[in-house]
Symmetry: C2
Subunit: 251 residues, 2 copies
């Protein structure tokens, strides 16, 4: 069992206090000094905890006044964003996953670029259909570089959570970059998602990396519209969301 650092545990306590409306919404948090005394830690540690809440958009912070509690609490952690199965369970749905096709291939240009691998390298491609409580929700095309692919390959095709299995194998995701846009269903999408070719889908392309910055997967996920939305919090303190121009592809 790992011991979480002090500031994370404090942040967790404050999260719960806020969720139970101990202060607001619109209410004011105690001052940093008061919290430091209350928890028996230094002000610096309290500030680390509050920084976490700030990045999640749970509290404001400005010089001169106490922090103000915002009403909306987007309570979701990195693990839930990273794993379809975990996310589904957290919203009370039953996740499900079926491999439609998988195999080793020579990496194409896009895979070489996103997985940062050389020209001759092999990747393990998996086409997987995801259900939410029995209904098709998303079609996932994932490419794994050699070492990760070797771990994924022997998995049963109805494995619900690949992420959780990889973690047991010591593969941890630390960072992910997501690109969200819109795409039209191709014949394969249509077949598995039970829609028509040409129907619009919400697309999330994702590259996940380990703590050392080494790419672990490159995935293109296509969601049926109307069942899922992506929420991002952006602020002066940290700006993880950017808008990108895309060249109209000739397709």
């Amino acid at each position: 069992m790992k011991e979480e650092p002090r500031y994370r545990r404090i942040a967790e306590e404050l999260r719960h206090a806020i969720a139970e409306h101990a202060y607001g919404p619109g209410g004011r948090l105690p001052s940093e000094g008061a919290l430091a005394e209350q928890y028996g830690v230094s002000r610096g540690t309290i500030r680390q905890a509050l920084m976490l809440l700030r990045h999640d958009g749970l509290v404001t912070s400005r010089r001169g006044t106490r922090r103000v509690v915002l009403d909306d609490a987007p309570v979701q952690d990195f693990a839930q964003m990273q794993s379809f199965a975990r996310w589904a369970r957290s919203i009370g749905e039953v996740p499900d996953g079926v491999v439609i096709r998988q195999g080793w291939h020579r990496a194409d240009d896009e895979e070489q670029r996103h997985l940062r691998i050389g020209e001759g390298a092999q990747v393990f491609r998996v086409l997987r259909l995801r259900h939410l409580s029995g209904r098709p929700a998303m079609l996932e095309r994932t490419s794994y570089p050699e070492p990760v692919g070797a771990i994924v390959e022997p998995l049963p095709t109805d494995t619900v959570s690949v992420t959780e299995f990889l973690e047991r194998g010591g593969v941890y995701v630390a960072d992910a970059e997501h690109t969200i846009d819109l795409v039209r269903a191709d014949a394969e999408d249509a077949e598995h998602l039970h829609c028509l070719a040409g129907d619009p889908l919400l697309r999330e392309r994702r590259r996940s990396t380990d703590p050392a910055g080494v790419p672990l997967e490159w995935s293109e996920d296509r969601y049926l519209p109307g069942r899922v939305a992506f929420v991002v919090h952006n602020s002066l303190a940290s700006t993880p969301l950017t808008r990108h121009h895309t060249i109209p592809a000739p397709e």
Copy 2:
């Protein structure tokens, strides 16, 4: 003129050094101690600077080894994400905006909730069409609460950047929450974006707040597909991106 804090200026310098491939990609940054000495500041200040780069996904960080430079540099700041005009200029396009309709109304339920205002309150609604280098790109339906609406109302209808005007009026955005999903064009969308009713559009709903957490605007922006994508960086260190379940609306 405002003096930027030391750690922000250092982060800026490191950003440039990285952009000019002084270390990588894949290279290692100097140790925190070395940087502290080099810049003549304490290690804590260096850590603040590096934290900024980490949140943007520019460098890794793990105990035991030096930080590693990642190759992709998403160089875009909060101001560019917040303002269509600024963003357009930063990618070398000419922004343009035309008000199609505007006026005061009683806030509906959604506006009351998102702008955190009472039942009788008035909002100023603006329907604005945005161009990128002359071609329609996005249709924007924004609601401003009373005080902000009063500032926006007298603006000429071809004002390119409302955000920049508001800043000159002392209205600063500090936080924004974005929800991204897919929607079908209605008759009005189709007319102004030159597409067909029913065509899919990329939708970004946004609430912006000031440093005190007071809502400044609630907006629903609909983008023509293929010209824009949203990019988010997510990590164990901060998780601003979440996936949300939406109830299939009967509309």
